[in-house]
Amino acid sequence: FPVVSEKEKEDMQLAKKYLQSFYDFKEEKNSLFKTKNLANKIREMQSFFGLEVTGELNPETLDIMKQPRCGIPDVRSYS
């Protein structure tokens, strides 16, 4: 595998934090399905914003994640 650049690491951290905040993404450190879970959350987010649903952290998806926004989660229910 190619070495992941610092930029890519930062982007991935940003994406995880974003998905945790707004799409109820829970990182399961010991799960074999870690990547699949993340991709599903990215798909969910891409679908909400009308982006091409790829499940990949492409520049369009990252752009949306970096926009100023409301802090209310898009999917999570309140208790």
Binding site: S21, F48, I64, Q67, P68, R69, C70, G71, I72
Partner: protein, 402 residues
């Protein structure tokens, strides 16, 4: 809405501003909040009362970082604000990130408090996020001119699903009798204040009247144009969209297509070979291509060759055959050559002199299927383009399958 659709079970909802941002004058913060609430009260039976002490349903505050709930703010950018759905305690409360630069106007170095507050207070009333781009409840901040801001239809549909429409739904007055300026707000719609100081809040409200029914026999239009094969009918801030691809009439607000032009139009026409629609409002005009407003607009209508005595255009239509555009002002009309971009000599002429049977002013003119359709009040007059003769008279809304 949120899961289980929480909503206030009463129509009188109280709010309190707990503190202020140093970025703005206190009076500007109060005005932004009051205007934001008025957006929602104008389309529902809800009434808002401001409290100065004690517990209000909606507690509004500015805070940075950790501020006592489980959603700490994150410094400049990122999350701007958040609010809780209706409920006891923290329910209904709205928090604004003090690390942002809050502004009264829309600028590129700050966030318009009115826009953000209107969004957050939508949550306070029970609305969740919308995936409709351009809707107020879309979760991403979009800078836009908030003068004469109108609530997008998606947000109206959402809030009315929770609370229903306003108790009194006055029908839109007809164009002939009603100016298009924002209507004065009534006391029933304005947020009221319970204050030991009794200081009135200054507001410049933007009332959102109810859209008339498609088949209302008294329905009139401000302007009509074709756009990429569809026909758009304009009335106030509303658009009726008739597409050859769909049988139903689509209802939209102007703000959902062209947010800066939300206040409505006097006239509109399309030059299809240029993929351009031109809108007129008072003494100005804008050119758009699809959703995009072309740069350099608005321009004064005098740029088209009108004398300064012409303050507004009643109607406009483009003849695709002759490449000429006709502008209607009072009982006269002008002919504009789109090729040379200049007014033709010999104009203005009386409408009645050249268009048989059109002996009055016109609200809107549509060119379709080899005919001109002149709209006047609730009637339309079908005129053959070649010989300019009246063929028949129909109701204005005959396009809506009534």
């Amino acid at each position: 809405t949120f899961p289980l659709s929480p909503r206030w079970k009463k129509e009188d909802v109280t709010y309190r501003i707990l503190n202020y941002t140093p970025d703005m004058l206190q009076s500007d913060v109060e005005e932004a909040i009051a205007k934001a609430l008025q957006l929602w009260s104008s389309v529902t039976p809800l009434r808002f009362t401001r409290l100065y002490t004690g517990q209000a349903d909606i507690m509004i505050s500015f805070a940075a970082g950790y501020h006592g709930d489980f959603y700490s703010f994150d410094g400049p950018g990122g999350t701007l604000a958040h609010a809780y759905p209706p409920g006891n305690g923290i329910g209904g409360d709205a928090h604004f990130d003090e690390d942002e630069n809050w502004t009264k106007f829309t600028t590129y170095n700050g966030y318009n408090l009115f826009l953000v507050a209107a969004h957050e207070l939508g949550h306070s009333l029970g609305l969740g996020h919308s995936d409709v781009f351009g809707a107020l409840m879309y979760p991403i901040y979009m800078a836009k001119d908030t003068r004469d801001y109108r609530l997008p239809q998606d947000d109206i549909d959402g809030i009315q699903a929770l609370y229903g429409p306003p108790r009194e739904s006055p029908a839109l007055p007809t164009k002939a009798f009603a100016p298009q300026e924002p209507t004065e707000m009534t006391s029933a719609e304005a947020p009221t204040e319970v204050s030991p100081r009794e200081e009135p809040t200054e507001m410049t409200p933007s009332k959102t009247p109810t859209r008339p029914e498609d088949c209302d026999p008294h329905l009139t239009f401000d302007a009509i144009t074709t756009l990429r094969g569809e026909i758009l009918f304009f009335k106030g801030s509303y658009v009726w969209r008739k597409s050859p691809y769909f049988s139903d009439i689509e209802h939209d607000t102007i703000s959902s297509f062209w947010p800066p032009l939300a206040a409505g139009f006097d006239a509109a026409y399309e030059v299809d070979r240029k993929d351009r629609v031109v809108f007129f409002k008072d003494g100005q005009y804008w050119a758009v291509s699809g959703y995009r407003i072309e740069p350099g607009f608005p321009k004064p209508i005098q740029n088209l060759g009108f004398p300064t005595s012409v303050g507004k255009i009643d109607a406009a239509v483009h003849d695709q055959i002759t490449k000429k555009t006709y502008f209607f002002v009072g009982n006269k009309y002008w002919s504009f050559n789109e090729n040379t971009q200049s007014m033709e000599r010999g104009y203005p002429r009386k409408i009645a002199a050249d268009f048989q049977g059109i002996g009055h002013t016109v609200d809107a003119v549509l060119q379709k299927n080899g005919h001109f359709y002149f709209f006047h009040g609730s009637n339309q007059y079908e005129v053959d383009i070649k010989n300019k003769k009246l063929i028949r008279i129909m109701k204005s809304n005959s396009w809506f399958n009534c």
